[in-house]
């Protein structure tokens, strides 16, 4: 049985991604915000979780108003990102765990 060891939340406004891309994380406006991540990074480094479930809202990239589920679960091997039209530079794709994702989806359906 898996054990949930914690939950981490963050503001997710696109300006955060831009600030990282533009190297502004230590800028006067952003410093306090980004410094807040440091203890989280340290904690993750210490705990080394096996899996991380990322929960986020879709910024109008995957879903339009004609088909917009309240919840959707990604079950892919890799997750690509893209410029959603406002100039964010895509970062490298990150790795998924299809087996776990399907396990999660099936377990939730069975409930």
């Amino acid at each position: 049985m898996a054990r949930i060891i914690g939950g981490i939340t963050s503001s997710h406004i696109p300006a955060v991604g831009n600030a990282i891309t533009d190297g502004l994380t230590q800028d006067h406006y952003w410093k306090r915000f980004f410094d807040g991540y440091k203890p989280v990074h340290d904690w993750l480094e210490e705990k080394q979780p096996d899996l991380i479930i990322i929960v986020y809202n879709d910024h109008g990239l995957n879903f339009f108003l004609d088909k917009i589920p309240t919840f959707a679960i990604g079950c892919a091997d890799t997750y690509e990102n893209a410029d959603e039209g406002w100039g964010l530079k895509p970062t490298s794709p990150y790795t998924g765990d299809a087996e776990f994702s399907w396990h999660l989806a099936e377990s939730l359906i069975n409930q």
Binding site: D83, E84, G87
Partner: protein, 133 residues
């Protein structure tokens, strides 16, 4: 049937994106959603008017897009996530929209946010390490 009233209908200075707005602005949002694809962004840049013809926009909504009337577009029921794909490349950010809601410029809004942090450590201490803004 008429549109149901909600307690958020009359919030001063903002417009809640709900079913009624999603319905009346469907074509407008669909146009903005199309900007996910670079090929569509380029086609729009080349000829905004011709590009708008691909979408079933009302005359009023088309005029708002062609005139870059950002606040008018929000009032018309644009969803901020779709709309940002149109505004940000034109130099208007979501933060500027927040500023416009308060009747101040984007720079004034940034300054206001920065000022808000003054004395944060003291406030945090007073509230036991927690501050909800």
């Amino acid at each position: 049937m008429v549109w149901r009233k909600h307690d958020y209908d009359e919030i001063s200075g903002t417009y809640v994106f709900d079913g009624q707005r999603a319905h009346s602005s469907y074509a407008l949002n669909k146009l903005f959603y199309s900007f996910n694809e670079e090929v569509n962004r380029t086609a729009f840049e080349e000829s905004p008017e011709v590009y708008c013809e691909n979408f079933d926009l009302s005359k009023e909504h088309k005029a708002l897009v062609l005139n870059q009337d950002f606040l008018g577009i929000l009032r018309a029921g644009a969803n901020i996530y779709y709309m940002a794909k149109y505004c940000i490349p034109r130099g208007v950010s979501v933060q500027d929209a927040g500023a416009a809601f308060q009747g101040i410029t984007g720079d004034e809004f940034r300054d206001k946010l920065l000022k808000k942090r003054d004395g944060l450590e003291e406030r945090l201490e007073k509230e036991g390490g927690y501050w909800n803004g």
